[in-house]
Amino acid sequence: MPAVSKGDGMRGLAVFISDIRNCKSKEAEIKRINKELANIRSKFKGDKALDGYSKKKYVCKLLFIFLLGHDIDFGHMEAVNLLSSNKYTEKQIGYLFISVLVNSNSELIRLINNAIKNDLASRNPTFMCLALHCIANVGSREMGEAFAADIPRILVAGDSMDSVKQSAALCLLRLYKASPDLVPMGEWTARVVHLLNDQHMGVVTAAVSLITCLCKKNPDDFKTCISLAVSRLSRIVSSASTDLQDYTYYFVPAPWLSVKLLRLLQCYPPPEDAAVKGRLVECLETVLNKAQEPPKSKKVQHSNAKNAILFETISLIIHYDSEPNLLVRACNQLGQFLQHRETNLRYLALESMCTLASSEFSHEAVKTHIDTVINALKTERDVSVRQRAADLLYAMCDRSNAKQIVSEMLRYLETADYAIREEIVLKVAILAEKYAVDYSWYVDTILNLIRIAGDYVSEEVWYRVLQIVTNRDDVQGYAAKTVFEALQAPACHENMVKVGGYILGEFGNLIAGDPRSSPPVQFSLLHSKFHLCSVATRALLLSTYIKFINLFPETKATIQGVLRAGSQLRNADVELQQRAVEYLTLSSVASTDVLATVLEEMPPFPERESSILAKLKRKKGPGAAGALDDSRRDTSSNDINGGVEPTPSTVSTPSPSADLLGLRAAPPPAAPPVPVGGNLLVDVFSDGPAAQPSLGPTPEEAFLSELEPPAPESPMALLADPAPAADPGPEDIGPPIPEADELLNKFVCKNSGVLFENQLLQIGVKSEFRQNLGRMYLFYGNKTSVQFQSFSPTVLAVQTKRVAAQVDGGAQVQQVLNIECLRDFLTPPLLSVRFRYGGTAQSLTLKLPVTINKFFQPTEMAAQDFFQRWKQLSLPLQEAQKIFKANHPMDAEVTKAKLLGFGSALLDNVDPNPENFVGAGIIQTKALQVGCLLRLEPNVQAQMYRLTLRTSKEPVSRHLCELLAQQF
C-alpha cells in the first residue's frame, strides 16, 4: 500500500499541524491556536453554508487542538452534521470527534443517537461498524438506553457480516460494563455462547470477551461455554504453527484468543464432565510441554506470545488448585524463569509464584526457590522486580523459614526504596508475629524495625507489639529489658520512646530489681527523651509517669516535681496541661489503694485480627494480603499463631466462617473525631486509595480506643451470626407486600419504629449504624392469644440466627442482624416472615429498612470547600435533581430534622439563600466511599421543593434523590 497518498488531502490540516510544530514557544503555539479557533468559529458562524469537506477539515482541526490539551467548546453541532453525511470520510471524522469529545448536551445526544440509529439500520456494514465503534467509544448511559436492546439482535442475526458481529459483541460488552441493568438477558445469550464455534476467528476473539464478562454475573446461564471453550482451545493448542494463517502470530497460533479462552475458563470451577476435563488437562499439559521445546523464532514477540499463554495456563492451574502434578510442573517452570535473562519474565515469574505459594500442593515446591528469590531481592536493579521478590518471600514464609526470611527482609529494609519501606515494615511485623515461636524473637524483630526504619513504622505496628506484650506474660520481662536497653542509644526514634514508655509504665517493675535499671534510672532515661518528643509522645510519657508513681512509690517526689513544673502545668497544649494537672492531683489526693486500682495493669486485649494485617490490606487493596490468607494452606492452622493467645474472657469469638486471620472482620478504625474541615472529603473525591484519616493518639482515651475497637462479630455481606440452621432457601421468598415500599419510606430518615403491623403480628425495628456497619434489632410481637408455630423470619440471601420457632400469644421475640455495607446498593434486602397460626401458614415479605443513606457519615465543611466539591462533581450523571410538590406542611425545623435523620451534615452559611438547605456527607461502604452533596430549595409560595444531589457515583445520586424526595 503506498504511503501518504492515502491522506485525504486535507491540506489545510497538514499546514496547520506544521505551523504548530514550527512554533518556537508555548506562547507562539497558543497564539497560533487562538487564531485558528477564531477562524474556525467565524467559518462556522458565517452566512455561507460550508460544504462537507470544509466542515470535516475544521472539525479535524478542532480535534487536533483538543488533543494538544486545549479545551474545545464548540464545533459539536458541525460534527453531528457530519454524521449524517453520505460521504464516508466525513461521517468517519464526525464519529471520531464525537467519540473523543463527548459532550452530554442533551439536545445533541438526541441528534447523535438519531444518526447512529440510521447507520445501524443502513445495512451497510461499514456504516454499521462506524456507529457501533462510536457507541463502544462513548459507552454512556444514554447510549445504553437507546441501543442496548438492539445490539444483541445485530450480534446474533444470521445475516450480519463478521466484522459487524465483532464490533457488536464488544460494543455490547462496553455497554454492559457501564450499565448492566440496561442489557436484557434473553434468548440471544444462548446464541452468543455458540459464537465460540464460529468459523471466523475474529468473531470468536471478540465474542469470548463478551461472554467472559457476562458469565461473571450469570454463571449458570453461560455454563455451556465451558465445553465449547475447551474444544476451541484444544483445537488451537494442538494446531501446527501455520494452520491458522493470519491468526498465527510469530509461529504461535492465535495467542490472543488462547489467552482469552483461558481467562474465560477461570470464571468457573474445573469442568464436571470427565471427558471435557480430560481434554482440558491435556491442553494444559501441551502448553507446559511446549514451554520446554526450543523456540521456533528468536524474536521476542514469539517468546512473549508463547509465554503469555503459558502464564495464563498457570493462572488457570492455580485457579483450579486441584491438580498437584500440574501445580508442581507450573512451579518448576516458573523456577526456570526466575533466572531468565529477560527482566519481564523474572518479574512475572515472581508475581505468579506468589499465588502458587498459597496452594497447599505447591507451597513446598515454591519454598525450594528461596535462595534465588533472596538473591533477587539483593541484586535486581529494577525496584519493581525487587518489590515482587519481597512479595514472594512474604508469601512463601512459614514457620520453617520465617527467621531467615524476616532477617533478609530486615537487611533489605536498610537499603530499600523509600516508596516501599512502609509495606516491608508491615510485612515483617506480620510475619514476625505470625511465626514467632518464642516471643522474645518477635520483640527483637519489632524493635529492630523501629531502629532501622522508625519513620515507616506506623501506629498499627507499635500498637500491636504492645497488645502482644500485654497479653503474654512470658515475654513482658524480656520486653522491658530490651526496650530499656534500646532506649540507652543516644539517638533513638520517637516510636521507640513510645513503645518504651508504654512498656516500662506497665512492666518496668519486672526489671526494677537490677540496680542498673532501678526505678529512678528508668525514669531519668525516659525523661531524658521527653523534651525532644512530640506532644503525642509526651502525653503518653506523662501517663507512664503516673503509672511509675503507682509502681515505684520512691519516684513519687521526683515525678510530682516534674508534673508541677510550669512547663507542664501551664503547657500551651491543652492535653498536656490537663494530664499534668489531673495526674498531679491524683497522685496527691488518692490513697495507695485507689491509685493501685486506677492504675492497675492493663487487662489483656481481646483476641482479634491483627490491625497490621488490616492495614496492609488497606494499603494494597483487597486480596493483597491474600497470600497469607491461609484458609487453603494451613488447614490444621497449627503452623501459625492465631493472633494473640485467647484469654478466658474474650469479648468476642471469631466466627468459624471467618478467615483464620479474621481478615474480613477488619475492625473499623476508631470513629474519626469530629470531622475536620473538608479533609475527609478530599480523600473521598480523590481517586487514590482512600487514606485513613490518621488519628493522632494524643489523648490517652483515643490511644486506648484505637487499641480496643469494638469487634464486630463477623460481618459478612449482611448477616446475623451465621448459624448452620436450615434456613429456607432464598428462592422460597415471595415478592414483597404491596405496601413494602411505603413502609420502607418511613424509615429513610429514622431508625426505629413499627415496621409492620396487622391483626396478628407487629414487627418493630431498632437499628444503629456507624461507618459501613450496622446492627438491627427486629422485634416480632404476637398480638394474638394463640401461639405462632414454625415461626421463621429470614433475610434474603443471608444466614440469620434462628429465633425460637414458637412465639407464645402476647409474647415478643427479638432477632439481631449485623449488617455490613460492602458497596453501594439500590435495593434493600428482603425480610421474609412465615409462621403457622391456628393451622394456616402465614407468610409475609417486607423490605428491610436498610437504605444506602444509613451509611452516611456527616461531613462539615466551609462554604468555599463545598462549592469547590460541588463543581468537581459536575458531570451530568453525577447530578440528580427532582422538583416535587410538598406532601407535608413545609416547616423548616421538621425539614432540618429529616435531613439530619437522612444522615448528612447540614451546612449553615453556605447557600446565599438562608431558606435553602445544604448538606454533605460520605457514604461508607467496604469497597468504596461515596462523597455526597445535597441542596434542598423549598418554595413556600408554590408549595414545591427542588432537590439536587451530587455524588461521586452516578446511581447513588439518583437513588438518594428518589429516597429523599419522598420524605417531604
Binding site: 500500500m1 501518504v4 492515502k6 491522506g7 488531502g9 497538514a14 499541524i17 510544530r21 469537506y53 479535524c60 487536533f64 488533543l67 490539551g69 479545551d71 460521504k87 464516508y88 470520510t89 468517519q92 471524522i93 471520531l96 461499514t126 467509544n137 466484522s163 465483532q166 464490533s167 464488544l170 460494543c171 462496553r174 460494563k177 457501564a178 476467528m201 475474529g202 476473539t205 471478540a206 470477551s209 493470519d246 491468526y247 502470530y249 495467542p255 490472543w256 484468543l257 489467552v259 481467562r263 514477540q301 512473549n304 509465554n307 503469555a308 495464563e312 493462572s315 527482566t343 519481564n344 518479574y347 512475572l348 529494577d382 519493581s384 522486580v385 486480596g623 481517586d687 487514590g688 458531570l875
Partner: protein, 160 residues
C-alpha cells in the same frame, strides 16, 4: 484495558484512547503522572509496573512510548504484544511508520486502533483483516473524493 497512551520521549502526548469514563481533568492528571513515571524509567527495566490499582505495560519504539493500563487479572505479556501488533499495523499502513506519520495522520491512527481494539478488548488480530477494513474505507473515500472533484470540474467547465 482501561486506556492507551502514546507519547514522545519529550513527554508530548501523541494519541490517547480511554476505555473507561473519566473526566477531562482526571485524564490530564493521569497522563501527566504516567508520562513522568514511565519516562523516568531506565531502558533495561521491566516493561510492567504497578500503578494505583492498575498494571502499566509499556514499550518504547524509536522516539515513541506506547503505554497501556490494564486491570489486575489481565495478562501483561499479551498486552505487550497488543502494542506490538498495533505498531505493525501502523507500520504496514504508513510504510515504515514514524512519529510524524502519527502526528499528521492522527485520525488514521485512531481508525486503525478502533479496528484492532474496541472497548478495550482485542477485536480482530488478523493484520490482513484490520488493514482490509481500513483500505476499504480509504477506497470509499477516494471514490467519493473523485466524485467530488469531477463534479466541481464539470461545474467549472459549464461556467466557462
Amino acid at each position: 484495558m482501561q486506556f492507551m497512551l502514546l507519547f514522545s520521549r519529550q513527554g508530548k502526548l501523541r494519541l490517547q484512547k480511554w476505555y473507561v469514563p473519566l473526566s477531562d481533568k482526571e485524564k490530564k492528571k493521569i497522563t501527566r503522572e504516567l508520562v513522568q513515571t514511565v519516562l523516568a524509567r531506565k531502558p533495561k527495566m521491566c516493561s510492567f509496573l504497578e500503578w494505583r490499582d492498575l498494571k502499566i505495560v509499556y514499550k518504547r519504539y524509536a522516539s515513541l512510548y506506547f503505554c497501556c493500563a490494564i486491570e489486575d487479572q489481565d495478562n501483561e505479556l499479551i498486552t505487550l504484544e497488543i502494542i506490538h501488533r498495533y505498531v505493525e499495523l501502523l507500520d504496514k499502513y504508513f510504510g515504515s511508520v514514524c512519529e510524524l506519520d502519527i502526528i499528521f495522520n492522527f485520525e488514521k491512527a485512531y481508525f486503525i486502533l478502533d479496528e484492532f481494539l474496541l472497548g478495550g478488548e482485542v477485536q480482530e488480530t488478523s493484520k490482513k483483516n484490520v488493514l482490509k477494513a481500513i483500505e476499504q474505507a480509504d477506497l470509499l473515500q477516494e471514490k467519493t473524493e473523485n466524485m467530488y472533484h469531477s463534479k466541481s470540474f464539470i461545474g467549472y467547465k459549464k461556467a466557462y
